[in-house]
């Protein structure tokens, strides 16, 4: 089942406001609030620390005989050296392509025989690893994970093959209007900051990457200091401690990361990518709010009311339900380590794109000026509280992913019990203030399609 198109703001990954999960992750809080006994049954998070000092959060559960592991090392594609953009992405493609004594072929055969699935991917701010394994074969699976994490081989043949596949992808997108537009958007919004660069790199930059670059990056990023781990499934704390030491215990203590500056997304710009398309894509960026800011939950509530994950948001009502202008319209708060933004995206018939842009701006303006109603706020609180578990905790893998994000955001192991309290404490005045603060700014607007017809109010 495919999801409605989401903002393709560069790699938002973290926090409650992250694009991919703010809405794709929402129910356990209702359990804690309303059904405390059930919640405890549903989710007992243990903090486990191994003899060598590796800490993980564990949810022990034997309902299905599998184990899901998720971990992250801080860093991400912002660590790519200038001229070697795409290095982190290439590295993440190589962890199952040979490690320790096993070459690529041997490693993949062993992984398949072990009944395990391993994947690595990068974001702007981190390198993530995931593994799903059958409980009965977990020893073999953890052993392969140990090899991948500690002793990736970076053999030349797989380097060249994966690089060629990435290159094919880069070339394939060179004439794709959406890809071209996203590159121009990132450049406009982030200037020279690493967030403006392509994760995949360019034809030239990925050609320049060597085996030594990969080894150096691995050494700098894969260290215990930047590591967060979560494990869900058929494994107990004592067994997990041994596995944690085996997989992560021999990594160096400290990461050697290149510092990355914070950046304020540049607003009040117009990015136009003219292309003869039957449907025009619109994207707007307003200022965001930091995860640690006191304004965070007021902003989350405001964003939900504006264009969040329900069928009852103001943008959904005005753009789709009343006027039939778009199939998809939504807003999201994007939190990255070094930048935050509020992004609205929609796609609309090109001859009415100017009108649609005007309506989006009117809806934002009205929310900024008047704020939401008490009734909207009350309903949105109930939604956000209730939805957390349904979207965050609906499988072992998604629970593990959620627990890693909570660790990255430093929210505490009891955050899920506290979260509803934070939301309920938000007042109407705070949401009004958040709307005013974020939505009175002049947004950066991107239009991908034919030149706007008519004199849209935008």
């Amino acid at each position: 089942m495919t999801n409605q198109h989401r903002a393709s703001f560069p790699s938002p990954t973290r926090g409650e406001g992250r694009t991919r999960t703010a809405l794709a992750t929402l129910f356990l809080s209702i359990l804690f609030l309303i059904l405390p006994a059930l919640a405890a049954r549903a989710m007992d998070i243990q903090q486990v620390t191994s003899p060598k000092g590796i800490t993980a959060w564990l949810v022990e559960d034997y309902s299905v005989p599998i184990v899901a592991v998720r971990f992250v090392f801080g860093g991400g594609s912002t660590q790519d050296p200038v001229g070697k953009e795409g290095l982190t992405n290439l590295m993440t493609g190589l962890f199952d392509e040979g490690a320790g004594p096993l070459d690529s072929e041997a490693f993949q055969v062993r992984l398949d025989d072990a009944g395990a699935e391993m994947s690595f991917e990068e974001t702007r701010d981190g390198v993530y690893g995931s593994m799903r394994m059958l409980a009965e074969q977990r020893d073999e699976a953890f052993d392969l994970l140990r090899l991948a994490v500690n002793e990736p081989r970076f053999d030349q043949a797989p380097i060249d093959r994966i690089r060629a596949q990435i290159l094919s992808g880069i070339i394939a997108n060179e004439n794709d209007p959406d890809t071209v537009a996203q590159h121009r958007w990132a450049r406009a919004v982030y200037g020279d900051h690493p967030y403006s660069r392509s994760d995949q790199g360019t034809r030239q930059s990925i050609a320049a990457i060597t085996k030594d670059d990969l080894k150096a990056l691995h050494k700098a990023v894969f260290a215990r200091g930047g590591l967060h781990v979560a494990v869900v499934g058929a494994i107990d704390a004592e067994t997990l401690k041994k596995k944690l030491d085996m997989v992560f215990g021999d990594l160096p203590q400290n990461q050697a990361l290149t510092p990355v500056a914070d950046v304020e997304p540049k607003l009040a710009q117009r990015v136009e990518v003219n292309y003869d398309l039957p449907q025009t894509s619109l994207q707007l960026a307003w200022p965001g709010v930091k995860r640690k800011s006191a304004d965070f939950f007021p902003a989350v509530l405001m964003n939900e009311i504006l264009g969040g994950g329900t069928f009852t948001s103001r943008l959904f009502a005005e753009v789709r339900e009343k006027r039939g202008l778009a199939y998809s319209v939504n807003s999201s708060l994007v939190n990255q380590d070094h930048a935050d933004a509020l992004i609205v995206t929609t796609g609309t018939r090109s001859d009415r794109a100017a009108e649609t842009l005007g309506i989006v701006r009117d809806v934002a303006r009205q929310l900024a000026e008047e704020g939401p109603t008490e009734a909207e706020l009350a309903a949105t609180k109930k939604y956000l509280i209730g939805a957390y578990a349904i979207t965050n905790l609906d499988s072992s893998s998604s629970i593990a992913a959620t627990l890693v994000e909570l660790q990255l955001d430093d929210l505490g192991i009891d955050y899920m019990q506290r979260r509803a309290g934070y939301i309920n404490a938000v007042t109407l005045d705070q949401v009004k203030a958040a709307a005013k603060k974020l939505l009175t700014a002049e947004p950066t607007i991107m239009v991908v399609g034919p030149p706007l017809a008519g004199a849209g109010k935008g």
């Binding site: 356990l28 919640a39 009944g115 059958l134 093959r161 997108n173 449907q279 309903a379 609906d394």
Partner: protein
């Protein structure tokens, strides 16, 4: 992000998960302590009005997935009314005689639930995920809109604009999707799978209130629906609540059997080409008409599933190993089989070149692997590993209650039953290497296939 009107080109799940089981497959043999629970025992029964009910208990968290599947999809549409099944899916979210427009959505979001719907060739499904305490409320809303929808010309007009936008965003803005649509219309010479689920633009523009009401009255009936409830509930509770809600809806007239136009003998090689300025790396796919789980002789569909896995199911498959790893001419290559369909279905192979390799070289290499498996068959080791991967994927599927609900729902909506799902692993286990070779030789014949080519603009005419 939640798109109400999900439209699916294929069914919900990867082919490898298209059927699954409920019993313990690997769990029993594990050395795990007695914490391993009883399996998720599936119950099914009929309401007096003919509505089928399947309950899949999963008590790990207090969450329940509630789905209503109607055995009606785009392939059942009247001639000239393409897109009406999907359009109607959208209209189901409008006002009823008992609830104002948007009231159901607000009730779902008020409790933090999620809701949506989707349409495919053979079915249309509506679903909510909520706390178990809200199950009766969800059933009440769904039972209400099964019969009490109010359709006005205003509602029709605005929502029709929405589906036209959906078509533009899913198809018309995307050259690969435009090509796929044309390939389907060429692969299928007579069967309605040749018509896109979302509909042809000029027919969608003409859909009206009369069409919608006729469609509703014919198909949205309890005796044409399957209720799937997965999650933290007991079958007795579901039965009591279903009788209180859906049970009150009168049975409709019996629907005639779903007999659709069938394919003539396929006897030509057809090609469809689209060149587009947005494309810079060419790609191709080749498709064949093959039986589905519903139309196949015993064991054939299972053999096709394993054939797809061995030929092109992933990084360990023959196509990937030969073209991507060893020959180094492709950036990707693979195969898939979509078995969960009411009528015959399609088997697809695909590939794209990398570096200096030409599309023709990739296509020739794919054809060679297809020919090799049809003449030489598969090795016992390949077959065992493919079976293991299927069984494993089913254990992983059990980890997600909505996946389980979808597996049962799509099976029951395409002519299968609960036992078909439960016995599937055993049937997969029984497939022999000879049977895999036989289906490859019987069905993957290039002289009766359809290939689609997506090319950069400058290669047009080559």
């Amino acid at each position: 992000m939640i798109s109400r009107a999900e439209w699916l080109r294929t069914t919900l799940l990867a082919t490898s998960l298209a059927f699954t089981f409920t019993g313990p497959v690997l769990a029993d043999s594990t050395a795990l302590p007695d914490k391993t629970p009883a399996e998720f025992k599936v119950t099914d029964f009929l309401l007096d009005n003919g509505m089928e009910v399947v309950v899949i208990p999963d008590h790990r968290a207090p969450i329940v997935t509630h789905m209503v599947w109607y055995k009606i999809g785009s392939a059942d549409e009247p001639p000239g009314k393409s897109g009406i099944a999907h359009f109607f899916e959208h209209l189901m979210f409008k006002a009823t005689t008992n609830h104002a427009a948007g009231e159901f959505d607000r009730a779902v979001s008020d409790i933090g639930g999620s809701n949506n719907a989707f349409t495919s060739y053979d079915y249309t499904a509506f679903h909510e995920t909520v706390a178990p305490s809200a199950l009766e409320q969800m059933m009440g809303f769904e039972a209400d809109r099964m019969r009490n929808l109010i359709l006005t010309d205003d509602v029709i007009k605005t929502e029709r604009d929405v589906i036209l936008e959906e078509r533009r965003s899913r198809i018309d803005n995307n050259p690969q999707a435009v090509l796929d649509e044309e390939v389907d219309a060429t692969l299928w010479q007579n069967q309605p799978y040749r018509i896109p689920v979302i509909g042809w633009m000029q027919e969608m523009e003409q859909l009206n209130r009369t069409d919608a009401v006729a469609f509703y009255d014919k198909y949205y009936r309890p005796n044409n629906a399957v209720l799937i409830v997965a999650g933290d509930v007991e079958p007795e509770t579901v039965k009591a609540l279903a009788e209180k809600t859906y049970g009150k809806v009168a049975r409709g007239p019996d629907l005639p059997p779903r007999i659709r136009p069938v394919e003539p003998e396929q006897n030509t090689k057809r090609t469809v080409t689209l060149a587009d300025a947005r494309v810079s790396v060419p790609s191709f796919s080749t498709q064949w008409v093959v039986p589905s789980y519903h139309t196949a002789k015993p064991g054939e569909a299972e053999a096709l599933d394993l054939l797809a896995e061995i030929l092109g199911g992933g990084n360990r498959s023959r196509l990937y190993q030969a073209l991507v790893v060893k020959q180094g001419i492709a950036s990707n290559a693979g195969a898939y089989f979509q078995g969960t369909m009411l009528d015959d279905t399609n088997f697809t192979v695909y590939g794209a070149p990398r570096g200096d390799a030409k599309l023709a070289d990739v296509e020739a290499a794919v054809d060679a692997e297809v020919a090799r498996i049809a003449s030489g068959g598969v090795t016992p080791d390949e077959l065992e590993k493919a079976k293991d991967r299927y069984i494993r994927s089913m254990v992983f599927a059990r980890d997600k209650q909505d996946s389980m609900a979808e597996i049962y729902g799509s099976t029951l909506a395409t002519g299968g039953n609960v036992q078909d799902v439960q016995q599937w692993p055993d049937r997969i286990r029984k497939v022999t290497a000879d049977e895999v070779k036989a289906v490859a030789a019987r069905y993957l014949v290039l002289a009766r296939s359809t290939s689609g080519y997506l090319l950069p603009q400058q290669q047009a005419g080559n």
